[in-house]
Symmetry: C2
Subunit: 339 residues, 2 copies
Amino acid sequence: MPKVNLKTIATELGVSISTVSKALQDSYEISKETKQKVVSLAKKLNFQPNPYASSLRRNQTRNIAVIIPEIANNFFALVINGVESVAREKNYHVLIYLTHDEYKKELEFCEYLQNGRIDGVMMSVTTETQTHEHIGRLTEKGILVVLFDRVCHEIETAKVTTDDFVSSLNATEHLIQNGCKKIAYLALSSHLSIDNKRKAGYAEGLHKYNIPFDASLVIECGNNENEAHQIIKSLLSSPNRPDAIFASVEKLAIETYLVCRELSLSIPQDVKVICFANLKIADLLNPPLSTITQPAFEIGKKAARVLFRNLDSKRGSIENENIVLKSLLIPRLSTQKSD
Amino acid sequence: MPKVNLKTIATELGVSISTVSKALQDSYEISKETKQKVVSLAKKLNFQPNPYASSLRRNQTRNIAVIIPEIANNFFALVINGVESVAREKNYHVLIYLTHDEYKKELEFCEYLQNGRIDGVMMSVTTETQTHEHIGRLTEKGILVVLFDRVCHEIETAKVTTDDFVSSLNATEHLIQNGCKKIAYLALSSHLSIDNKRKAGYAEGLHKYNIPFDASLVIECGNNENEAHQIIKSLLSSPNRPDAIFASVEKLAIETYLVCRELSLSIPQDVKVICFANLKIADLLNPPLSTITQPAFEIGKKAARVLFRNLDSKRGSIENENIVLKSLLIPRLSTQKSD
DNA sequence: CTGTTAGCGCGTTCAA
DNA sequence: TTGAACGCGCTAACAG
């Protein structure tokens, strides 16, 4: 594996290194013939410039980091898919960092990534995240940050989210219109902006139909599967159980589904369920659940586009914009009714 | 954002850059006091060495690439999870490249990644991949390669796979023991090593019970959802349809499930189904499917460990080893029977 | 149009 | 024990 670099080509051709460099960049300073010679030899030797040597000079790595709570989750997997597709297009490279929904890890990554390994970061914060100084420290070092989905509104940077309030309002309305009077809201964490927006949409939905908001029906399930399962189980075991569940994330919907089976409650006869979900699950389950589907792939693409645009503009700071995409409500209850 | 580098510390302390460098590496050449001073100032200024400057000197980036067909797929998502967890532990960084199951893209990545952006590659080939020169070219450039799951056996490098033959044999046996006589095997592509091994296990299962192998029951569905759906539909619409389906991957199982619903065939009464799957689907579906679950997380971890071990040994080439992990068969037919 | 020079930030001789 | 000098591979200012 003989290394081939600019020097190899330069000496072989009897020209200087910088000539080769310029020729390969199609600089106007170099004659056609020289370019020809250089380019053809480069191709023959399969020369590829070392990206990190250029990085050092140009002060840009063309690497970006994606920091997310988890990957075995259809939403985030689809986001990465979107990010990667735009990255290929724009010649950026995608590094993955998983926080496993721990603030400690998120912090660690943010500190570490100030070292110049990457030019920018796209991230969704953990349910534990309550401060945002660690994110500020990144931007201070000139690392551009785009937040998506689970964002911190306090920090000034580009953000890509979905219409959580409106779609939750519609979802709640959907349940009410199908006769639900006692709707429980399964929450993840009150630190999470999206959770609060969804909760607010849910509350507004109740309000619209003059249903009093009952705080005891808002249930924080946390991000631990087993715990969540137990909490939902005790909720649905109660004699005066709710007649509907609004699951703020897919995982909680799945647990609800499992609990219903365990307790021999049938959906939607005994309990109606609506949830945020990106899995094909809604099609597969029997009966299918009503769902709110976020445009995960588009979120990834959009967030990446915003980041790359800002990086390429080389201003060293990021435009403070707020992009809101629309989620898709798939109401399966009415379909169910007509059966 | 004032950049802090070795020089910053050196001038501040009135020592030379190399002294600082050595002190931070805890070199024996530097006095305790100097080290103390350097380290504490470095901490105070939050100094972090530029990784790519070191790369250039040390000739290692500590970046690795993971090349996979898709990410919105529980198996690969779990693999990445495993890879990432080991990477964190070993201080490596994970770049993601998605081929979307196109050989053209795989080739492109392999050519590109010879440039020194990464030290090593972990990959699962596409269903279209029929040659392996592109992989050889990587190793020739000193890039270590570990193949996993969808491997090329022709190439000499480390490989991590599962016991596809045995688990498929067991799966087939499970179907036969539950009364199936006409088992269809849904294949992805005959270019794929795992597919062929699974098929061989299936054939061996039939053979063991003296059921003649019927080539017309081996159906290549390709990797396109819609096509696969049609193929399965016509298979199950036939008057003499098979009494069981062995789906070689999760996607095909899902399509089978959907087709059954479409045709009002009930599982497992009308058609028994077993499949390779990593989704929680088996628990959620009603009725649940029998599944073979590959230890995806462990595959990721194992493959990463092998890669990092070889990278750290700095031999410039990789040990040619074949690691085979065990899959887990969850036979739900017997459970079903006792209901 | 081409070459010389000077770094990017770091690690590593080799002298002092 | 420290520091000066060099080079990893590349780009860019400037001189010719």
